[in-house]
């Protein structure tokens, strides 16, 4: 391509070549269309959020990370999967540099699962790809996320927040087993599948 002359204008661009009224009219139309588009997106998000109860993890619960091991909800004996009276399961997991404890959680398929997580040290992330599970694990707080696994099998559970030089090694798993198999497993096999 040849270098062009500086702005070789064929017709001069005069003041008011588009009238002020025309500018205001077209801009108003455009603004209304754009606001309508944004309002529609917002409405879809509100409606789907409400009807499907899709909320990000927002339980403001504090916990002292320095006393996790001394008992309470995140004592070692209490980690892993627990069956609730209503048949749902709760999985308690601690994130620490550079592993999840336990590093494999076993849960039944087609059953409501509640993950309760906290950190023993720095900020971690908790992601189960191909599910809606994705939360930060912030020391000092308990994160709670819920899902129902509809396919049995192995799911990866990587730490998805930078937590230090060993971050890339922080991969755990969820083992989702058929609903009828789960109660037949020994207690230790139910709470954890970590080897």
């Amino acid at each position: 391509m040849a270098e062009s002359q500086a702005n070789p204008i064929k017709r001069p661009v005069l003041d008011g070549i588009v009238t002020e009224e025309e500018v205001a009219r077209t801009e108003t139309y455009w603004a209304i269309i754009m606001l309508g588009m944004l309002a529609m997106m917002m409405a879809i998000i509100v409606v789907t959020g409400m009807t499907n109860a899709l909320h990000p993890p927002s339980n403001v619960e504090t916990i002292d990370p320095t006393t996790l091991h001394r008992g309470g909800e995140f004592a070692e004996s209490n980690l892993g999967t627990a069956v609730e009276p209503d048949g749902s399961v709760t999985a308690r997991v601690i994130g620490e540099q550079y592993s999840f404890v336990p590093d494999c959680v076993r849960v039944p398929v087609d059953t409501p699962v509640k993950f309760r997580l906290t950190s023993a040290d720095v900020v971690h992330g908790f992601l189960i790809p191909s599910t809606n599970i994705n939360t930060m694990v912030v020391p000092g707080f308990i994160a709670e996320v819920r899902t129902t696994f509809t396919r049995s099998g192995e799911y990866w559970m990587p730490c998805d927040e930078f937590c230090g030089d060993g971050h890339h090694g922080m991969w755990a798993r969820v083992n989702v087993v058929p609903k009828d198999q789960f109660p037949k497993l020994a207690r230790t096999e139910r709470t954890s599948c970590a080897k």
């Binding site: 003041d15 944004l38 998000i45 403001v60 040290d121 994705n134 912030v138 030089d165």
Partner: protein, 546 residues
């Protein structure tokens, strides 16, 4: 450009001198995390590199470039010397010293906490001090932008502030509001802990304060691109700006709506209730509005230029535009990337949909497309527009500049489109090495290789940029034309006070900030959720509680 020439050029050169090695780090990181072999195959070096790449791109390059741009715009749009040149040079030196402190500390492996800090990880005190000097030093620039506009208004009562000056003043105020979060985090939490004056850090509070900065800082980076859209591009295309008022409203909307929305980066955090998350998600929608309005205004301005150049018919004006002008080409490429990245952003800010992609490669792809693509390509175009004006030497050459812009555009698309896909597949971000032997990760391998190729194209493009700027700097001196800003089709004779200043808008920002952040920040003084800090050391697994 009178007294501002050397000032602007010095700022620009710091920015671009840091830019090239920062792109090199990025390209290396792409190789590291791909199935391909990478030189210096060390995960620790990867996290050091990510910290340096982020710090350089997010704090150093942007701040220096925008400060230089601000000084140039002030002198040329007000058509008079800058007030406070000495203070500006002092600010330059402070920022430079801060940059050196931060960079040396990162390279020593004492600050691998990423540019977002992530307390309770604790870096060396020198890293925090360096960042404080860099961000704090830029506040001198903020004050100078505001003073220059105010003094001009005093000397020119009743006249509308030129749009470019109005916009750069909005940029300065936006940055002051945005930086308040990171400055408070540094001064109130990180430095006291790093010095040993406090024993603990409240990770939740630190994250909340940083979120005040984290979204608005992107709009700080974006503003020069929009100033070029409104004030430089229509002129480069040989036309007129469609509407001066829309420009003013756009910059005001950016100031008002880009700050009380940062919590949409923290949707997945457990330390706030869903109410505030929803409120900030709602407010975030408004920040899309100025961009959607700008697209119309710029296309209309280009249509005026295209028709003036003889373009006919519904689309004939598009072909009639001077596409050989780097500025015109860059605007088109920028808008394409802004469109793609923007729609990705609409998903990120959507309250519940964010769960699908939070902290996956999707997010990395989103902000590389918006900032690394749409914004940075306009930085290149601004440099190509200003270099001849500052140095008095012609750009060598426009053809090379077009190659550079196209290669950056394709490099960025080839890099980010695979990232979007691997993000949806569940690839977490900020991971040094993946085990491609695992079937779950192996299927991402080919996409990661494609994106690494994009990284190499970006590196070549960055080298080309430096070659063009150096060739232009040392070319034969000719008398350059002064920088001219686009005139509006209907130049405003007077504008209302609300569109000629920021007093009202700053009050609105304050109110919105109190509503959106008052309780979320205040709650930590009730929750008392401080935790011990973890110093970053160089031995793998050797970090321990203090």
């Amino acid at each position: 450009m009178q007294n501002s020439s050397r000032l602007s050029l010095s700022h620009y050169w710091v920015a671009f001198a840091v830019f090239l090695p920062a792109v090199l780090l990025g390209a290396w990181q792409m190789l590291m995390r791909s199935p391909l072999p990478a030189p210096l195959d060390d995960p620790n070096a990867y996290y050091t590199s990510v910290t340096l790449h982020g710090t350089a791109m997010a704090y150093v390059i942007t701040t220096f470039f925008i400060m230089g741009f601000g000084y140039a715009v002030t002198a040329t749009s007000l058509e008079r010397p800058i007030i406070g040149v000495t203070a500006a040079w002092i600010g330059f030196v402070i920022c430079l010293v801060g940059t050196l402190m931060a960079v040396v500390t990162i390279l020593a492996g004492r600050a691998s906490v990423l540019y977002t800090f992530y307390p309770p990880l604790l870096a060396s005190v020198w890293y925090y001090l360096g960042t404080l000097l860099l961000v704090g030093g830029s506040m001198i620039w903020v004050v100078l932008m505001i003073i220059n506009m105010m003094v001009w208004k005093r000397d020119n009562p009743g006249r509308p502030v030129p749009l470019a000056m109005f916009a750069i003043a909005a940029t300065a105020m936006l940055w002051a509001w945005a930086a308040s979060g990171v400055l408070l985090e540094l001064v109130g939490l990180l430095l006291p802990r790093a010095f040993g004056w406090s024993t603990q850090i409240d990770a939740g509070l630190a994250r909340t304060l940083f979120s005040v900065t984290l979204h608005a800082i992107v709009y700080f980076w974006l503003m020069p691109a929009y100033i070029a859209f409104y004030a430089l591009a229509p002129e480069a295309a040989g036309g007129r700006l469609y509407s001066d008022t829309m420009g003013r409203l756009t910059f005001i909307m950016f100031l008002v709506f880009s700050i009380p929305v940062g919590m949409h980066h923290l949707f997945a955090d457990p330390e706030y209730g869903s109410g505030f998350k929803f409120l900030q998600s709602f407010l975030t929608f408004f920040v899309a509005l100025p961009t959607l309005l700008t697209v119309f205004s710029i296309c209309a301005s280009f249509e005026i230029a295209g028709r003036a150049r003889g373009g006919r018919g519904l689309f004939g004006w598009i072909g009639a535009l001077p596409w050989d002008e780097p500025m015109v080409l860059a605007v088109a490429l920028s808008l394409v990337m802004l469109g793609l990245g923007g729609f990705g952003g609409l998903i990120n800010m959507s309250y519940a949909m964010n769960s699908m992609i939070h902290n996956t490669s999707w997010v990395t792809a989103h902000f590389h497309l918006i900032f690394g693509g749409a914004v940075v390509i306009m930085y290149f175009a601004i440099a190509y527009e200003m270099w001849p004006r500052i140095t008095g030497r012609p750009l060598r050459s426009k053809a090379l500049a077009r190659w550079q812009l196209w290669s950056w555009f394709w490099g960025m698309l080839i890099t980010t489109i695979p990232w979007h896909i691997t993000g949806l597949m569940g690839q977490p971000r900020r991971i040094a090495v993946f085990d491609y032997g695992e079937p779950f990760i192996a299927r991402m391998g080919p996409l990661v290789i494609v994106s690494a190729v994009g990284g190499l194209i970006l590196l070549i493009s960055a080298v080309l940029l430096i070659v063009i700027l150096l060739r232009s700097q040392f070319g034969e001196r000719i008398l350059g034309e002064p920088l001219r800003y686009a005139l509006a089709v209907n130049p405003p004779a007077r504008v209302p006070a609300s569109l000629n200043g920021f007093a009202l808008w700053n009050v609105i920002v304050l109110v919105l900030m109190l509503v959106a952040y008052g309780y979320p920040i205040g709650q930590f003084f009730i929750l008392k959720s401080s935790v011990p800090a973890y110093e970053v050391t160089r031995q793998f697994g050797g970090a321990g509680g203090q």
